[in-house]
């Protein structure tokens, strides 16, 4: 009790600091045991990773034993249940590749722009409002995205695809075009002598505008005539995957941009650079490793996504012709595994069963490499900014 603690004259320290040897050993053992137990629990992540690789390997290897390596990666004939079966998964790899590429095309420019906006442009109050939106986009389950793609977007694309695409093209093309016209006319006339410059500029702008407008109308006509046989196609899936990858790209690149710090920005502003110039020439280059990490994580999200592609990609194991025709249905690795495991389940041991694990192994390795790449990029950006 505090009240009774007044030290006596003799023996100020009533307590011995030393533990007896056995007590000390006991205490040390107890602490060690507790730490060991915690460490063991912590290692469960390691075990999980080891077991995942082990089990996917274990069931994937027999396939390569049965069918060799060449067929899966070079052939496009995917008939696992036919007699004789053929397991050419090239088209499936291609499908995964093209939707991922599509998702990156959608997500990276928008994501980086949004991140820049959040970290440098918008006032704090708007940022507070944008954060929950991003979190909600990230939180919505993938099956809901897939449902939207299948039930809302696919019919829309199938019936009014041309109109949708044209509206998109105009919305994106018109401002971009105008901007290009202004910048181009400025650049082209910068060498001219002074009195004639404004006139030439105006004329040039008018001409370029007309050309741009003509190009846009041609593009719209082309789009309106485009045959869209099926709304469940690579374009649909790419857009949805891109939106799903956006939150990842935004938050990781925003962190990277934040890490650049005020000094660098102020140095650039002090030299008379505008905000855009500061960002494009100073901040983004300084943050490029972090942005690379954002891209890699976005890719991982898109490659590994199952439900959206399974529901809305059309699931046709074919390479579209021409290969960049994103209006054709395709099929991805994840959708193949999800769709065929149910049927292959009862033929355990057959090539048909093991090929799915082989595909899963490829998927796993792709993500593993991406992950290492992302981690390396993050580490590099941290090291560079320090």
């Amino acid at each position: 009790m505090a009240g009774t603690s007044i030290p006596t004259e003799a023996g100020l320290l009533r307590r011995h600091l030393m533990l007896s040897r056995s007590a000390s050993r006991l205490q040390r053992l107890g602490a060690l045991a507790a730490r060991g137990a915690l460490l063991l629990v912590t290692c469960s992540s390691v075990f999980a990773v080891i077991f995942i690789f082990l089990f996917i390997f274990r069931d994937a290897l027999p396939f390569f034993g049965l069918r060799g390596f060449a067929e899966v990666f070079t052939d496009t004939a995917w008939y696992p249940s036919a007699e004789p079966a053929s397991f050419g998964a090239l088209a499936i790899f291609f499908g995964s590749g093209i939707v991922t590429l599509g998702a990156v095309v959608v997500a990276v420019p928008l994501g980086v722009a949004a991140a820049v906006c959040l970290s440098d442009v918008l006032p704090f109050s708007v940022r507070q409002f944008a954060k929950p939106v991003i979190e909600m986009l990230a939180a919505i389950p993938s099956v809901a995205y897939g449902f939207f793609a299948l039930v809302v977007l696919a019919p829309l694309l199938q019936e009014k695809g041309g109109v949708v695409l044209s509206v998109g093209a105009c919305l994106a093309g018109a401002p971009l075009g105008l901007l290009a016209v202004v910048v181009l006319s400025d650049l082209l006339t910068s060498r001219l002598p002074d009195p004639s410059r404004p006139v030439v500029r105006l004329v040039l702008m008018g001409g370029l505008c007309a050309a741009g407008f003509y190009g846009l109308t041609q593009l719209v006509q082309l789009l309106l005539r485009l045959p869209i046989h099926s709304g469940t196609n690579a374009l649909n899936v790419s857009v949805i995957l891109g939106i799903m990858a956006l939150p990842t790209v935004v938050s990781v690149s925003e962190d990277a941009l934040h890490a650049v710090g005020r000094e660098l920005r102020e140095a650039s502003y002090a030299l008379g650079a505008t905000r855009a110039e500061t960002l494009v020439k100073v901040v983004i280059p300084a943050a490029r490793s972090g942005i690379l990490a954002a891209v890699v994580l976005g890719v991982m999200r898109a490659v590994g996504e199952t439900m959206v592609v399974w529901m809305a990609s059309g699931n046709a194991a074919q390479i579209p012709r021409p290969w960049f025709n994103v209006l054709e249905p395709i099929r991805t690795l994840t959708a193949t595994i999800a769709g065929e495991m149910g049927e292959a389940d009862h033929v355990t041991g057959s090539a048909r069963y093991h090929v799915l694990f082989a595909l899963a192994l490829c998927l796993l390795l792709i993500c593993f490499v991406c992950n290492l790449l992302g981690e390396w990029a993050v580490r590099r950006s941290k090291a560079r900014l320090r």
Binding site: R35, V46, F51, I52, P141, A144, V280, M311
Partner: protein, 448 residues
């Protein structure tokens, strides 16, 4: 470059960013609007007398007398239609043979469509399938059915290069001059009196079992399955994840083992969800044999591995965010490391940890791919707690997939699909909202 051009470029750059953010807001709205609008119609809709009759007969709900009276009133209006058909059938007997066969076929179609609208005609044997025993329970579906009743869809192949264009031909054209001709106008005008639609709040949609492949009833087994999976997952993942986070934040130094652990957590976070599904099947079911085949338990274990990295990372962050002074104060009072963690650090980090757990719950609730092979079935009864150890269950995410791709009548049960999506999205968003609020409170508390 001129200064004004530079400024323009600057402004358009900001514009691009604002556009990107607006696009995200727009995407969220475009995504949520149809889900909210059409999903709510699973709960609030104009229910016909057939709905009330179904509720009364199948689960004894509703006011017996009132519904009986309603059924009788509706039957009164319907009788005229059936009378017209009966008269037409008599007339057919008198008609010529070839003509008769043609008309018989058309008549059968008329009767089938009418049965689809109003349920089996009086005097007919009780059909086998539940869905045939009742007419349309929802007025919106009834209007679609009315369209099918009034018009025959034919295809116009005049353009040989394209696909056939659908044409709507009034069905009544086949019966011009017969005694059946007035039937069509009669049904069209009196359908409302035959079905007596009334705006109904069917909140039991959430708590009813689906009947006859979701033609009737609600989604309780799937909701319950999702709750089981979510809570079970967190019961496994939260202790392991929090313990790991405590170790990493408080006890771990630097060394090869710790960096291995960190790399593994990163790797685990990057494994595609479908691979977790395969792993769960191969490991938990086929190797460990936690259950003979799919079960809630196996699904929970698989999902727990999936959310583990999220829980660990966010909890570690929460623990590291606890001010160092708390730890110093506790140690200076003679508390050991263990009691410092348990009594000071964990309580202070609790809101942050809870936030991470709640967000992971949302993730577990929405994941589909990992439970395809480990836990989910498309049809099933609600499970008891004991059964979760050995039985598979319907679950919202899987049933959404299943109902909108593999169901026999995808178009007829859109409201169920939307209702399920709305329920799932609401569940996940509410969990996230809770997390956001919790975090805001935490921020305020640490500030004040």
């Amino acid at each position: 470059m001129r200064l004004s051009t530079r400024k323009l470029l600057d402004r358009s750059f900001s514009g691009l960013g604002v556009f990107a953010i607006l696009l995200m807001v727009g995407a969220l709205l475009v995504l949520l609007a149809p889900i909210a609008a059409r999903g709510s119609r699973a709960f609030v809709f104009r229910a016909t007398v057939e709905h009330r009759q179904f509720m009364l007969e199948e689960s004894g709900r509703g006011d017996h007398d009132a519904i009986d009276a309603e059924i009788r009133a509706a039957a009164e209006v319907r009788r005229k239609a059936y009378d017209m058909i009966a008269r037409f059938e008599e007339e057919l007997e008198a008609a010529g043979r070839s003509e008769r066969r043609e008309l018989r076929r058309s008549l059968r179609e008329v009767k089938d469509h009418l049965a689809g609208l109003l349920g089996p005609a009086p005097g007919n044997a009780r059909p086998v399938l539940l869905r045939d025993q009742y007419g349309q329970t929802r007025w919106d579906r009834a209007l679609v059915g009315l369209g099918d009743f009034l018009y025959v869809t034919e295809y116009d192949y005049s353009d040989p290069s394209g696909m056939g264009r659908p044409l709507l031909v009034p069905r009544v054209d086949g019966f011009r001059g017969t005694s059946l001709e007035p039937l069509f106008a009669y049904v069209e005008q009196n359908l409302e009196r035959m079905l007596r639609p009334r705006l109904t709040f069917y909140w039991r949609f959430l708590f009813d079992e689906g009947r006859d492949a979701h033609f009737f009833g609600g989604i309780w087994p799937a909701v319950l399955g999702t709750l089981y999976l979510t809570i079970g997952t967190m019961l496994i993942a939260a202790p392991v994840g929090i313990a790991s986070a405590v170790y990493l934040a408080e006890f771990a130094g630097e060394g090869w083992l710790i960096s291995l652990i960190r790399t593994c957590i990163g790797t685990l976070a990057g494994v595609p969800s479908i691979v977790f599904g395969l792993f769960g099947l191969a490991f938990f079911i086929n190797t460990l044999g936690v259950s003979d085949s799919k079960s809630v338990l196996a699904g929970c274990l698989t999902l727990a591995v999936l959310v583990l990295p999220t829980v660990i990372r966010a909890s570690e962050e929460a623990i590291l965010a606890v001010p160092k002074t708390y730890k110093e104060a506790s140690l200076s009072l003679g508390a050991g490391q263990g009691s410092t963690v348990l009594r000071v650090i964990l309580p202070a980090a609790l809101p942050g940890i809870l936030t991470s757990v709640i967000i992971s719950m949302g993730r577990a609730a929405g994941e589909t791919a990992p439970i395809i092979f480990t836990a989910a079935v498309s049809l099933g009864r609600p499970l008891s707690l004991r059964q979760t150890l050995s039985q598979p269950t319907p679950a919202l995410p899987w049933n959404i997939y299943n109902l909108c791709t593999e169901h026999e009548a995808v178009d007829q049960i859109r409201h169920v699909q939307y209702g399920m999506v709305l329920t799932l999205v609401l569940l996940v968003l509410l969990l996230n909202l809770a997390a956001i609020l919790l975090r805001a409170r935490l921020a305020r508390r640490l500030a004040g």
